[in-house]
């Protein structure tokens, strides 16, 4: 069998990803999510006792709450098909990864299904985030 021929022919017919459209869409959706986050931040700044430094936490929590509703009603994955990284990179994507795993594995029971699989997708983010932060914090402590 001629693998080289297969690869040249396959390369010719591989439909290109619509790069420009994907970028524009992820810019718009990502931007809208962040701008919406800013609106929530301003809301918390005005009406609750949060300063600019601490307002990030309630904003993130609110966004994840909205993500839960969108994920639960099965809308989030439809938006994500259009938005691409625009819905993945904001913290809503992290929330969606956790919530989607939790909902999907509900059918295997709460302990081993939901409990065992809830970080199936988001686990890598937490693992590498924590490990990299640990190393960086150590380096910074040693250097200063």
């Amino acid at each position: 069998m001629n693998n080289k021929l297969f690869h040249t022919v396959a390369e010719k017919h591989n439909p290109p990803r619509p790069l420009l459209k994907n970028c524009v869409m992820s810019f718009i959706f990502g931007g809208v999510i962040c701008a919406f986050g800013q609106c929530i931040s301003l809301f918390y700044l005005y009406f609750f006792d949060f300063s600019e430094e601490t307002v990030g936490d309630p904003t993130v929590a609110t966004l994840i709450l909205i993500t839960m509703l969108l994920t639960g009603f099965g809308v989030y994955d439809k938006i994500a098909q259009i938005a691409g990284a625009g819905t993945m990179v904001p913290v809503t994507g992290f929330g969606n990864a956790v919530i989607a795993s939790a909902i999907e594995h509900k059918s295997e029971g709460y302990v081993l299904g939901v409990g065992g699989n809830i970080f199936k997708l988001a686990g890598s983010v937490i693992l590498f985030g924590v490990f990299a932060s640990f190393v960086i914090a150590l380096i910074k402590l040693i250097l200063t």
Binding site: C34, A35, G86, I99, I103, I118, S133, I136
Partner: protein, 118 residues
């Protein structure tokens, strides 16, 4: 007011475009892209650049997943200043708890309330 919303729109959008480029041009998986962003966030905070960035972009900097890495390093360093090197381990999740806790809590609530839909 409006300016801050606009700035976070543009900054957040640009970060997302970077993510899209990593997926589409460099052919990486989304999980890799997200992990990379978190690591970049923690490096930026290690260099002391992320806090000015948050001052500048507001939610444009706190909403993307990069802020997760920033918050991890920030919490670790803050605690380390008080209790020495062991503080890195004690304080790691101090500032990040909002994101992780809400994701877990809402994940459980979601699992209780909803059924998977395709």
């Amino acid at each position: 007011m409006l300016v801050s919303i606009l700035v976070s729109f543009i900054v957040g959008g640009l970060i997302c475009v970077c993510g899209q480029l990593i997926i589409d041009v460099f052919k990486q998986t989304p999980a890799f892209m997200l992990s990379l962003f978190v690591v970049i966030g923690s490096i930026l905070d290690g260099l002391g650049l992320y806090e000015p960035f948050i001052d500048f972009a507001g939610a444009g900097a706190t909403v993307p997943i990069m802020s997760f890495g920033n918050a991890l390093v920030h919490g670790a360093l803050e605690e380390a200043e008080q209790s020495g090197i062991i503080g890195v381990i004690i304080g790691m999740f101090q500032l990040t708890s909002a994101g992780i806790t809400s994701a877990i809590v809402f994940g459980m609530i979601g699992a209780l309330l909803f059924k998977p839909k395709s």
